[in-house]
Symmetry: C2
Subunit: 685 residues, 2 copies
């Protein structure tokens, strides 16, 4: 018989021990008050609490608008969801008796703009919580802080007394979503905008055209999206809906139309503006491709002028991103007409030709009242100062641009598609502590953007790639430079993670769902153990080790595993702590629990995979997991018995670990270094 899932689950429960019931110490409670993310500029904790009960009432005062009213309405519904209490839905004018009073001096700009005042003060006493802000958007930021302050204990829900005065460090705090390589439906954008607002981000950089897709309706040039999108595009009505949805949350929407490279999808319908004769097909592979707009052809500019005029009217934001990255110029080199043009116009190389192209674009944008933004490559001596440099190259490139008078935004260090841990992104600061920029120059560094390039994300998995790591990046952009405690960042990330779920984010709940699908509906406990210690290969290695196209299903184990594998982090922390004092003897219980779980999970999984061919590629990982558990158990025995291991034993185990360290199915164990430490420690002193 197959053991039923319920039975497996019950059996697991048997092992629950009273340790788990242990004590919430006073210190933890104090810590629990520090759940804010991003950390505000100034927080002054006080004593006392404002209780939350059924009649908790909100009032708006000052100069208010519908946006704020709706925002406060939604915040109250989230508060209801958490507390299971019902509150009034209207906001009576009774400021004195309101439990939460929101007072705004002005509404600010209806469509958010760079430099909007987002500051707020939040005062919570035992009688009332009061948010005061110069603008609607400031009040929105304050409302998110307010919600994060909710706590509960035996006596019920409450807000701790506190005095907060807050404002962002950088005015540009963005998330780029690549809707081009993999199209992302409206609900993905909506829920990610909600999540952005929850961590006080204020720019959705919307990557809309690529080699792999042209995703926006244009009424003037309909063949662009009709032939370039496989039918997956945003109508202009949908674009307007997203812009409004974002504005209602204090978020700007800046579109990107990447050119002259990354342009295959344009050329499917308009090969005449390409630098090679074509024909062109929508690109299905990941990577960098040759198709490039022809900057020497007046037809190109004629088309782009029409296009930009239409898009400038559609997108109200002052900034427009023209990409400009990774143009390798191969088609330019190969085209005699282009070469002749360069000679005739004294254009010395492809960089200069791209600058020539950008200057023409700049005219269109300026004519339509827009400020041009582009990736590092557009930063060329000849370009006017009123363009914004978007740096994927790094802080130095950004600082250099600032020094020369350009404003800029950093994305190097925030490439969340590369599967690096949150801690790695967290330490990157658009202006590092050792900057040599003057105060004036520093002002030109506007902030940064996390970039969700979408080669390997589907609507089912994208949330798990964006969150929760982007919350750590959001903190870097908002909070004082000094906020850098990585352990505390991870602690708060876990709390924010839960709160994001109430906004519909699927970063947590889709993992179990996808594991069930992979296991053909068998019990996922063992597979969860495996997934908690492995991560996808990093950077661009996935392309090599597990090649797929843009049409491949993204339902493999590599798509379910996440960065910051929690089981590995926990284990590594345990080993690090113990290694310092070489007291593994005193960690035998937690170590045994880890190792027994790995071993048993690996064993069960091997059998389960026989009924789940979608995991055949991961079978060796199950074998390895069992092996890690066995090696660990053996090491633990040496510590328990106070014996030293033989050099032979250590060698064989280290050799085995080296094998286990190799990627399989594009996945890597994240506990190898700790296991080496442990194995080596069995040698004694």
């Amino acid at each position: 018989m197959i053991m039923s899932k319920i039975f497996i689950k019950s059996f697991f429960g048997l092992a629950m021990i009273l340790t788990a019931v242990f004590v919430v110490s006073a210190q933890d409670l104090v810590q629990a008050r520090r759940n804010l993310m991003p950390v505000p500029a100034n927080v002054n904790w006080k004593s006392g609490r404002l209780p939350v009960a059924k009649n908790f009432a909100v009032a708006l005062a000052g100069k208010t608008d519908e946006r704020l009213k709706q925002y406060a309405f939604r915040v109250m519904r989230r508060l209801e969801g958490r507390t299971v209490l019902e509150f009034a839905r209207d906001f009576p004018n009774d400021s004195a008796n309101a439990n939460l009073l929101i007072e705004t001096a002005s509404t600010g700009s209806a469509i958010p703009q760079l430099g909007d005042d987002e500051s707020y003060n939040l005062e919570i006493s035992e009688r009332q919580a009061k948010i005061t802000a110069p603008t609607t958007v400031g009040a929105m930021r304050g409302l998110e802080t307010f919600l994060q302050l909710l706590e509960g204990d035996k006596n019920g829900f409450y807000f701790p007394a506190v005095s907060i005065s807050d404002k962002p460090r950088y005015p540009w705090r963005g998330l780029m979503i690549d809707s081009a390589r993999h199209f992302q439906p409206m609900e993905v954008l909506r829920r990610n905008l909600d999540a952005m607002a929850a961590v006080k981000m204020n720019v959705l950089h919307w990557h809309l055209t690529e080699d792999q897709g042209f995703r926006v309706e244009t009424k003037k040039l309909p063949e662009l999206y009709l032939q370039g999108s496989d039918g997956n595009f945003y109508t202009q009505e949908q674009v307007r809906e997203i812009i409004k949805y974002a504005a209602d949350r204090g978020i700007r929407v800046m579109p990107e139309f990447d050119m002259p490279g990354h342009a295959t999808a344009w050329l499917v319908s308009h090969p005449e503006i390409g630098s090679a004769p074509g024909p062109y097909k929508i690109e299905r592979q990941p990577g960098i491709f040759d198709p490039t707009l022809d900057p020497t052809n007046e037809a190109t500019y004629k088309l782009l002028e029409v296009f930009f005029r239409e898009m400038a009217a559609l997108f109200p934001d002052k900034y427009m991103h023209i990409g400009g990255d990774e143009n390798e110029g191969k088609q330019w080199d190969a085209n005699p007409k282009i070469q002749a043009f360069m000679k005739a116009n004294n254009i010395k190389d492809n960089h200069a030709l791209q600058t020539h192209f950008n200057k023409r674009l700049l005219k269109f944008l300026e004519k339509n009242g827009k400020i041009m933004m582009g990736w590092d490559e557009i930063f060329q001596p000849d370009l006017p100062k009123n363009v914004v440099i978007h740096s994927w190259r790094g802080q130095k490139a950004l600082a250099e641009a600032a020094r020369q008078g350009y404003t800029g935004v950093l994305s190097n260090g925030y490439y969340i598609d590369l599967m690096f841990p949150a801690s790695q992104h967290y330490v990157v600061d658009p202006i590092p502590a050792d900057t040599t920029l003057t105060a004036e120059e520093q002002k030109r560094v506007l902030g940064g953007e996390a970039t969700m390039w979408s080669e390997w994300v589907s609507p089912e998995t994208i949330d798990s790639r964006v969150w929760t790591r982007t919350a750590a990046i959001a903190e870097r952009f908002w909070s004082p430079r000094e906020v850098t405690d990585v352990d505390d960042m991870y602690r708060r990330l876990e709390i924010i993670s839960g709160q994001l779920e109430e906004l519909g984010l699927t970063h947590r709940k889709n993992q179990a769902m996808l594991l069930r699908r992979l296991l053909n509906n068998q019990d996922i406990t063992a597979l969860q153990t495996l997934v908690s210690v492995i991560e996808p290969v990093k950077e661009y290695r996935r392309y090599q080790v597990r090649p797929q196209t843009m049409l491949s299903p993204l339902t493999g184990l590599i798509d379910v595993a996440q960065a910051d594998a929690p089981g590995a982090r926990e284990f590594n922390k345990l080993i690090q702590t113990r290694a310092k004092n070489k007291d593994f003897q005193n960690a035998l219980i937690p170590l045994s629990i880890f190792f027994a779980n790995w071993k048993n999970s690996g064993m069960l999984l091997k059998t389960q995979i026989e009924n789940a061919p979608a995991l055949t590629e991961a079978r060796q990982l199950a074998v390895d997991l069992q092996s890690l558990g066995e090696t660990g158990a053996e090491a633990a025995e040496f510590f328990r018995d106070g014996k030293k291991s033989s050099a032979e034993w250590r060698d064989s185990r280290l050799k085995n670990l080296a094998e286990i360290a190799k990627q399989k199915a594009g996945l890597e164990f994240q506990v190898i270094e700790s296991m080496k430490v442990l194995v080596n420690a069995t040698a004694g002193n």
Copy 2:
């Protein structure tokens, strides 16, 4: 210190034993082939298998249409998701070499209609799978069967060889969704339509107006939705989108506009057509209310004529539901003008007055080419035969209507909002085996509808109320009468449950999410154990024991607990099996596992609740869970030791069980009867 979640999870893993690894026997494999739901009319299993590999190709032949092409396209994407293999996206004309060939004789009606031919044949050999169907919709049904046949083992994915000839038993297989009491956003409707198609249902009965809301845009009478919906309504464009989405899945959309009762939301903007002077406000309570349209006022008909003309054009389905239920006539009794009208027109009672009203409506509907449908109450001697009776009263009422020449649809027995188990719905047949109806009369029983009344469902929870129980009901409507094995139904329901997740249904994944929210982000393992043995109170008891309004948050434990609590079902089955032969001695291991888990989970949960005030109302349930575990463990000891319990012990335990049996927070343990059996069994013979 607080034990980390990872640590708790790892600790649970420690207990995993090798039993779990046991043997998938040959018998299970045969069983696994019987995963079809609903069970087809004729299945003939053969030997051999059609493997699924990267190049699995589909071809369409015969008279085909875009609907079918898109359906097949989506089915292939689901197959990709399960297998993690990439298939071609186009359907080449190469019928001979296609792995799946779909041949349709005609496209059938583009907008589905009652009585459409939904039959299909499916032949799978080692070389090819072939679906033949007279219509596009038949092929859709066959494609769902095809997907359900997918299996996998050590050698990879495959379809078993089989010959299936299938058609539905009833032509009307519906799900009613009440979008009025709680508005349900578009994505809820879309994903539930997908799920309906997966189990071959073909009618979405869309309940659009109620005391608590008027949910459809009308351009002629805009105040109806503007004042009656709190801004939560479907635009006509959205209605058309849903109709198309449904049609693309072979599903009809029949709207319901409930009248003359259940009409408060109409009267908010149009009190002049009410039977009392008003004013009226949108109703916030659940229940049955007085506001009723005035059937003696010509203004009522004038308005309704305009309304029905517009709705008849908006909804292409031939059938239109006018509700007609639960009109208690209190306002009629109290209105002298109405009383005078009745006297003057020789209308003897309120039933007759409602029939008078219905006959006027009937004219409007007929003028617009529609067939009228209404709840049992409309079935009055005077009503013409061309109306459809929708029975909430039961099979007898339905049979009586059929005998008198009316067609009818059964919903009594399928009220999924009442939280009864799937087994209870499953045994209800629109035409019971002992029917005395003639063959001709039986044809008038068109089928049935599951009804998702939405007093207590939110977009977060509705899927878990509809599914998976509705799949069992869908089987009742489609499969031969003889398909009645309840255990096997539950086995297949579990499999279907996993497959529904790939369509975006949230019935499983939102449970863990909501438990995390309730526990304030603490580890949910213990709470999951509790939830696996409790269910919400049944029928209409929730109104009394845990009153809420239509504006209350639906995030309490009662909203997360589901019908068919799986841990209780498993436990009850174990007890039943063992009780037969009185051999509890041989079940000591599984019993101990259950009881230890209950006890430990209850203990941990009590502590966790101290940091999670949203669960304070459920604290006693944690105490009870621990107590159940302790009582069980004591009983197990008697069996282990071969001793008899004292009458005193049994009395005290049975008394305790009687206390535990009482609802708390609207929730009830589902293991009480089994526990009584166990306690009594300790008395020995």
